[in-house]
C-alpha cells in the first residue's frame, strides 16, 4: 500500500473529498485554495482561486459538475468543476464549517459558525445542476441551532433528514423539509466536539469522530448507537469503507497540546478498525502532524488523508487488504 504524496498546498489540509466515481480528489486548506488531483497518480489537474481566507470544507455534487467550498471568509462558493469558473457566492456573517450536497445533488447545505451577533445555523439552498443556470440567492431552509453550535452536518438517505454533530458531543436529527428538530442523542462525551460525520453508501447510517478519542456508528432513522471505536488520541475524522466492513479513523494530538512533539507521541496514524467487531486491525503511518480528514473512494479501492503537515496522502489498497477476513466472515462467505 505505497502512498502517493500530493504536495501543493502551503498550509494545513482541512478536508479532502473524492468524486462519485473516485477518479478525482478535491482538497481544501488553510492556504485559501481548492485543489483537484487525479487519485490514480497524484497529478494536480487544477486549482480554484477566489476565497479570501482559510478553507474549512469542500464537496462535489454526484455528477461531478459543481463544486462547493466554504471557509473563514464567511462565504460558500459554487464552482464549475471543469472550467474552474466561480458560479455563485453566498455571503454570511460568520465562517462556514461544512458544506454538503444532498444525495441527488439538488440541494446544498452549509453550517455557519456561532460568533458574537451570529447564531449557529444550517442553511439549505436549492441547486440547479447546470453551470449556465442562475442559482438562487435565497435559502430554501434555515435551521437556527440554539443549543450547542453545530460543527458538522449532512443529508440522510432520500434527503429525508439532516443530521448534525455539535460542539457538546451530541448529534441531532432534523426534518430536512421543515427543519423541525426531531431527535437528539448524546453520542460523545459532553464538551468534546463532534469533529466529523460521514455516511454509509446508502446513507442509512453514519460515523462520527470526536475529540473524546472515539468514533461512533449511528443509525440515521432513529439515532441508535450501533458501534463504538475506542482510540488513544483525539479524532478529527472517520470514514466508512465500501467493499470491506472497515472504518478508517484519523486524528492526533495537535502540536500546541503536547509539550514535546514527535510523530510517535502525536500518534499521527490512520487507524483501521473492523466496522462490525470494533477491533483495530491496522495502522498507517506517514503524516508529520495530525490527520485532519480521511476520505475513502466510493469504489472502495483507495483512501486519502489530509494532514496538518500540508500533505495529502493517497493509499491504494492492495491485495492483503481485500483478502483480509476474520474466520467468522470467511465462514459466512462460504455458506
Amino acid at each position: 500500500m505505497r502512498p502517493i504524496l500530493l504536495s501543493g498546498h502551503e498550509r494545513a489540509l482541512t478536508q479532502v473529498k473524492y468524486t462519485r466515481d473516485g477518479d478525482i480528489i478535491f482538497s481544501v486548506s488553510k492556504d485559501h485554495i481548492v485543489c483537484a488531483w487525479y487519485s490514480a497518480n497524484g497529478e494536480r489537474l487544477g486549482t480554484y482561486h477566489g476565497h479570501q481566507g482559510a478553507l474549512w470544507t469542500v464537496d462535489i455534487d454526484p455528477t461531478t459538475t459543481l463544486l462547493a467550498s466554504g471557509g473563514a471568509d464567511n462565504t460558500i462558493r459554487l464552482w464549475d468543476v471543469k472550467t474552474g469558473k466561480l458560479l455563485k457566492t453566498w455571503d454570511f456573517g460568520s465562517s462556514i464549517k461544512r458544506v454538503e450536497f444532498s444525495p441527488d445533488g439538488t440541494q446544498l447545505l452549509g453550517v455557519t459558525e456561532k460568533r458574537v451577533g451570529h447564531v449557529s445555523s444550517i442553511v439549505v439552498y436549492d441547486i440547479k445542476q447546470d453551470v449556465e443556470a442562475e442559482q438562487s440567492s435565497e435559502h430554501a431552509l434555515r435551521i437556527v441551532v440554539d443549543e450547542s453550535k453545530a460543527t458538522v452536518a449532512g443529508f440522510s438517505y432520500g434527503a429525508k433528514y439532516i443530521i448534525a454533530g455539535h460542539e457538546d458531543g451530541s448529534v441531532s436529527q432534523f426534518d430536512a423539509k421543515t427543519g423541525e428538530l426531531l431527535d437528539t442523542f448524546q453520542a460523545h462525551e459532553p464538551d468534546f466536539s463532534v469533529t466529523d460525520l460521514q455516511w454509509s453508501p446508502d446513507r442509512t447510517y453514519f460515523i462520527t469522530a470526536s475529540k473524546d478519542k472515539t468514533a461512533k456508528l449511528i443509525s440515521a432513522s432513529d439515532l441508535a448507537l450501533l458501534k463504538t471505536y475506542v482510540t488513544d488520541t483525539p479524532l478529527n475524522s472517520a470514514a466508512l469503507t465500501p467493499v470491506k466492513d472497515f472504518v478508517i479513523l484519523g486524528g492526533g494530538q495537535a502540536a500546541m497540546d503536547v509539550t514535546t512533539t514527535s510523530a510517535r507521541q502525536g500518534k499521527f496514524e490512520a487507524r483501521i478498525f473492523h466496522k462490525i467487531f470494533e477491533e483495530e486491525i491496522g495502522r498507517v503511518r506517514g503524516h508529520f502532524g495530525p490527520l485532519n480528514y480521511v476520505a475513502v473512494s466510493p469504489d472502495g479501492k483507495s483512501y486519502c488523508s489530509g494532514g496538518e503537515d500540508g500533505y495529502v496522502r493517497v493509499h491504494h489498497f492492495d491485495r492483503p487488504y481485500f483478502d483480509f477476513l476474520f474466520e467468522v466472515e470467511r465462514e459466512r462467505a462460504n455458506i
Partner: protein, 59 residues
C-alpha cells in the same frame, strides 16, 4: 505499509464475533427492507443516483 494483525482468537471471541456478525446482517436486512418500502412510497432513491454515476464511467 500497513500490517494487518494476526487473527488469533480464542473460542469465546470467535463466538462473540459470530454473534456480532449475525446481529449486523440482521440489522442490515431490516434497514434495507425499510428503505425499500420508503422508496416505494415515494422517497428519492439514492441507489439510482449511485448507479447512474457508474454507468457514466462505463461510457
Amino acid at each position: 505499509q500497513d500490517l494487518l494483525r494476526k487473527n488469533k482468537a480464542s473460542r469465546a471471541i470467535i463466538e462473540q464475533r459470530r454473534r456480532l456478525l449475525d446481529e449486523w446482517l440482521a440489522w442490515r436486512e431490516q434497514v434495507e427492507e425499510e428503505l425499500h418500502d420508503e422508496v416505494a412510497a415515494g422517497l428519492p432513491d439514492i441507489a439510482e443516483v449511485v448507479d447512474d454515476g457508474k454507468n457514466e464511467v462505463i461510457e
